[in-house]
C-alpha cells in the first residue's frame, strides 16, 4: 500500500518528526488560506499523486510541472487552480496520467545540505537497520555502488530499540554541527518510533535537510507498511487511495485475492504465491507472456474463485487462461465449481487450459467434465504451459 506525501507528513508529525510547515488542500481557496497561515515566506505547491517525477511532469491542460515554488498566497491559488482536477502525466504514470485531487501547500525550505536517511527491516539480521548517507537528494543506489564508504549502516537491537548513543553517533557520522546535533538526534529518534509504531517495513527520508537557518527537517518520506499488521493501524489502512491503483488489483483485493496486473496476454489462476510465480516463469520459458500474478491462496471459497475468474476474463488483453492448481488445503472441486459458476455468469471467450492435481482431484475433474465448460485439460505443469502459450498465439494471429 502506498500513501500520499501529505499523509506521510501527517504521520511524521504525529510522532514529533520535524517537517516543513504546510497542509493539504482540495480547492484553490483552501490552498490560499493555508498559504496565508504559513506566513510571508517562499511557498511550494505540490500535486498529490503516488507517481514519481512530478516536478518534470506536464498536465494535460498544458500546465507544466507538478511542483511549483511561488512567492505569495495569491500565486498559490493560481497554481493550485491549474493543478486541481487536472490530469498530470509523468514518466511513472503512463500516458493516461493521474487526476490530481489534492495539493500540498508548504513552506519552501531553504536547503543548505541534503542527507539520506532510511530505516528498514533487515531480513538477514532480522532486525531494524538504519541506512544513511551524507549524499542526500540523489539516487542513493548509485552512491552505494560508486562510493560505498559514504553509506552508514547502524543495526538496532529489536528488543532494546534505538539507543541515544546510536543517534549521537549517526549525527556525528552525518556531519551535523554541534548546534544542529540535538535536532538531528530528536528527528532520528522520532523516525524510529514512527517505524516501530506503525509496523513499517521501511521509512525512507530523502532528503532529510538542514536549512540555511539551521533547522533539521524531513522533507519527504516514503513509507512501506507491513500489510499483515494493518489490522493494528486502521488509521493507516484508511489512507489507501484506490484511485491511484490498478483497477484490476482494487477489484481483486475487495475479494481477498492476491492479484498483480502485468502486461502479457496469458491470464493465470494459481494457488500459492511460489507456484503462481513459477507458473509465470514457465509461461515465459515457453515463449508466452503472463497477464497477471494471481494467488487464490489456500482457503479460497467457491465465490472467491468465481470472482477471480471474472477479473481474468474482464481483462481485454487476455488471449488464454491457464488454471494451475495443486490442491493442499485448497480442494480441487472448489476450484472446479468456481470455474463452472464463473462460466455461467460471464461468457468465456478465450481458450481455458486447466491443470488440477492434489486434494480431491478426481472430484474436480469430474465436475468440470459434467459442468459443460469448454476447456483444454493438461496433465502436468509443462504440458499446461505449452498448451496455454499455443492457444494464446493462435488467438493473437
Amino acid at each position: 500500500m502506498n500513501i500520499h506525501e501529505y499523509q506521510a507528513k501527517e504521520l511524521l508529525e504525529r510522532f514529533g518528526v520535524a517537517t516543513t510547515r504546510g497542509k493539504v488542500a482540495s480547492t484553490p481557496e483552501e490552498a490560499e488560506a493555508i498559504a496565508r497561515q504559513i506566513g510571508d515566506v517562499d511557498l511550494v505547491v505540490k500535486a498529490q499523486v503516488h507517481a514519481g517525477g512530478r516536478g518534470k511532469g506536464t498536465f494535460t491542460n498544458g500546465f507544466k510541472g507538478g511542483v511549483h515554488v511561488v512567492k505569495s498566497p495569491k500565486e498559490v491559488r493560481e497554481v493550485a487552480s491549474k493543478m486541481l482536477g487536472q490530469t498530470l502525466v509523468t514518466h511513472q504514470t503512463g500516458p493516461q496520467g493521474r487526476v490530481v485531487n489534492k495539493v500540498l501547500v508548504a513552506e519552501s525550505a531553504d536547503i543548505a545540505r541534503e542527507i539520506y536517511f532510511a530505516i528498514l527491516l533487515d531480513r538477514q539480521s532480522a532486525a531494524p537497520l538504519i541506512v544513511a548517507s551524507t549524499e542526500g537528494g540523489v539516487e542513493i543506489e548509485a552512491v552505494a555502488e560508486k562510493s560505498p564508504e559514504k553509506i552508514m549502516r547502524e543495526h538496532v537491537d529489536p528488543l532494546a530499540g534505538l539507543q541515544p548513543y546510536q543517534t549521537r553517533k549517526l549525527a556525528k557520522q552525518l556531519g551535523f554541527s554541534p548546534n544542529e546535533s540535538k535536532a538531528a538526534t530528536k528527528l532520528f529518534d522520532g523516525l524510529y518510533r514512527t517505524f516501530i509504531g506503525l509496523d513499517c517495513s521501511m521509512v525512507e527520508v530523502n532528503p532529510l535537510v538542514v536549512t540555511t537557518k539551521g533547522e533539521v527537517l524531513a522533507l519527504d518520506a516514503k513509507f512501506n507498511f507491513d500489510d499483515n499488521a494493518l489490522f493494528r493501524h486502521p488509521e493507516v489502512a484508511a489512507m489507501r487511495d484506490t484511485a491511484e491503483e490498478d483497477p484490476r488489483e482494487v477489484e481483486a483485493s475487495k475479494h481477498g485475492l492476491n492479484y498483480i496486473g502485468l502486461d502479457g496476454n496469458i491470464a493465470c489462476l494459481v494457488n500459492g504465491a511460489g507456484l503462481a510465480m513459477a507458473t509465470m516463469d514457465i509461461i515465459k520459458f515457453y515463449g508466452g507472456e503472463p497477464a497477471n500474478f494471481l494467488d487464490v491462496g489456500g482457503g479460497a471459497t467457491e465465490e472467491q474463485v468465481t470472482e477471480a475468474f471474472k477479473i481474468l476474463i474482464a481483462d481485454k488483453k487476455v488471449k488464454a487462461i491457464l488454471v494451475n492448481i495443486f490442491g493442499g488445503i485448497m480442494k480441487c472441486d472448489i476450484i472446479a465449481q468456481g470455474i463452472i459458476n464463473a462460466a455461467k455468469t460471464v461468457k468465456l471467450s478465450v481458450p481455458l487450459v486447466v491443470r488440477l492435481e492434489g486434494t480431491n482431484v478426481e472430484k474436480g475433474k469430474q465436475l468440470l467434465k459434467e459442468g459443460g465448460v469448454a476447456l483444454i485439460t493438461a496433465d502436468d505443469l509443462g504440458d499446461a504451459a505449452q498448451k496455454a502459450v499455443k492457444a494464446a498465439k493462435e488467438r493473437s494471429t
Partner: protein, 293 residues
C-alpha cells in the same frame, strides 16, 4: 530414514479447537501422526475427536503428555505469542502454519528464541513430513512416498509440485521441510541443509527458493564446501517485476539483491543443478544423481 520428525514424534496442536486446526489435526492423525495433546486457552478439559486431551497451556500439555513437537494453527494476531509459549515449554520443534503474522512480531520472536533449545519451522509454511511416518502440516499426504530424497522449500504448493514429480518417477522422500516464505522465519535453507547433511539415509536434495533475501545464496555457499551429495534447485520469480510484493512477504526484490538470476548463478557456482522450469525439478535431480554415481 528421516530428519526432525518420525514415528516417535509426540505432537501437540496449538489451536486444535479452531476449524483449520481441527481439520488438519484430524488429517495428520489419519496419516499416522501421534497427536498427544491440543491447546486452546479456555478450552482445557475437553477431548478432541474423543481421544486427544485439550489443555489451556502448552506448559500443562508438556507436563501431562510429554509432547515434543508443536504444530500451530493460531490466528495471525496471536500466533507469535503461541510460538513463544511452545518455546517456553521446551518442545524440540515448533511448526507454525499460520500465515499473515506481522513481521515485527516475528522479529521479536526470533530475537527471544536465541539460545533456546527449540527450533522453529515457518511461519506461513506447509509444515514438515516424513513420508509413511509423520505428517505435521497441511500438505496432501498421498503425494508422498517413503524414500531418500530430502526436499527444502520456501513455497507450499511448489513443494507439492516437486514431491509429486519425484513420487511419479518412483523416487521417495526422506523428509520434506516447508520453511515458509515470510521475510523473517525460523529455520533457513542453510539450517535445513545442515540437518539433512547429518542424515546418512538422505541421498540427494531438492532446494526450492524464491526471489528476495539471500537465504538461497548462503545455502549454496555452504553446500559448495561441505555437502557432497547431489543437489538440484529451482528459484521461482524469474519473471516477477522488480520491486513488487508478491504474496509471500518474502518475495521482495530490492536493490538488485535477491534476484532470481543472482540466486541461480550462486547455486550453479556451487555445483548445484538448477531446473530450467518448475516442471523439471525431479528430472534435474535424477540426472544429477545418475551423473554423480
Amino acid at each position: 530414514m528421516s530428519v526432525l520428525v518420525d514415528k516417535n514424534t509426540r505432537l501437540v496442536v496449538q489451536g486444535i479447537t479452531g476449524s483449520a486446526g481441527g481439520f488438519h489435526a484430524r488429517q495428520c492423525m489419519e496419516y499416522g501422526t501421534n497427536v498427544v495433546a491440543g491447546v486452546t486457552p479456555g478450552k482445557g478439559g475437553q477431548m478432541f475427536g474423543g481421544k486427544v486431551p485439550v489443555f489451556d497451556t502448552v506448559w500443562e500439555a508438556k507436563q501431562k503428555t510429554d509432547c515434543n513437537v508443536s504444530m500451530i494453527f493460531v490466528p495471525a494476531a496471536a500466533a507469535a505469542d503461541s510460538i513463544l509459549e511452545a518455546v517456553d515449554a521446551d518442545v524440540d520443534l515448533v511448526v507454525c502454519i499460520t500465515e499473515g503474522i506481522p513481521v515485527m512480531d516475528m522479529m521479536r520472536v526470533k530475537e527471544q528464541m536465541r539460545g533456546k533449545k527449540s527450533r522453529l519451522i515457518g511461519p506461513n509454511c506447509p509444515g514438515i513430513i516424513t513420508p509413511g511416518a509423520c505428517k505435521i502440516g497441511i500438505m496432501p499426504g498421498y503425494i508422498h512416498k517413503e524414500g531418500n530424497v530430502g526436499v527444502i522449500s520456501r513455497s507450499g504448493t511448489l513443494t507439492y509440485e516437486a514431491v509429486w514429480q519425484l513420487t511419479s518417477r518412483g523416487y521417495g522422500q526422506s523428509t520434506c521441510i516447508g520453511i515458509g516464505g515470510d521475510p523473517i522465519n525460523g529455520m533457513s535453507h542453510l539450517d535445513a541443509v545442515k540437518i539433512f547433511n547429518e542424515d546418512r539415509h538422505t541421498e540427494a536434495l531438492i532446494l526450492i527458493g524464491e526471489i528476495g533475501g539471500s537465504a538461497e545464496e548462503e545455502a549454496a555457499a555452504w553446500i559448495k564446501d561441505n555437502y557432497k551429495k547431489p543437489v538440484a534447485a529451482f528459484i521461482a520469480g524469474m519473471t516477477a517485476p522488480p520491486g513488487r510484493r508478491m504474496g509471500h512477504a518474502g518475495a521482495i526484490v530490492s536493490g538488485g539483491k535477491g534476484t532470481a538470476a543472482g540466486k541461480i548463478e550462486a547455486l550453479k557456482a556451487a555445483g548445484i543443478a538448477v531446473a530450467e522450469t518448475p516442471a523439471t525439478m525431479a528430472d534435474t535431480l535424477i540426472a544429477q544423481m545418475k551423473g554423480k554415481r
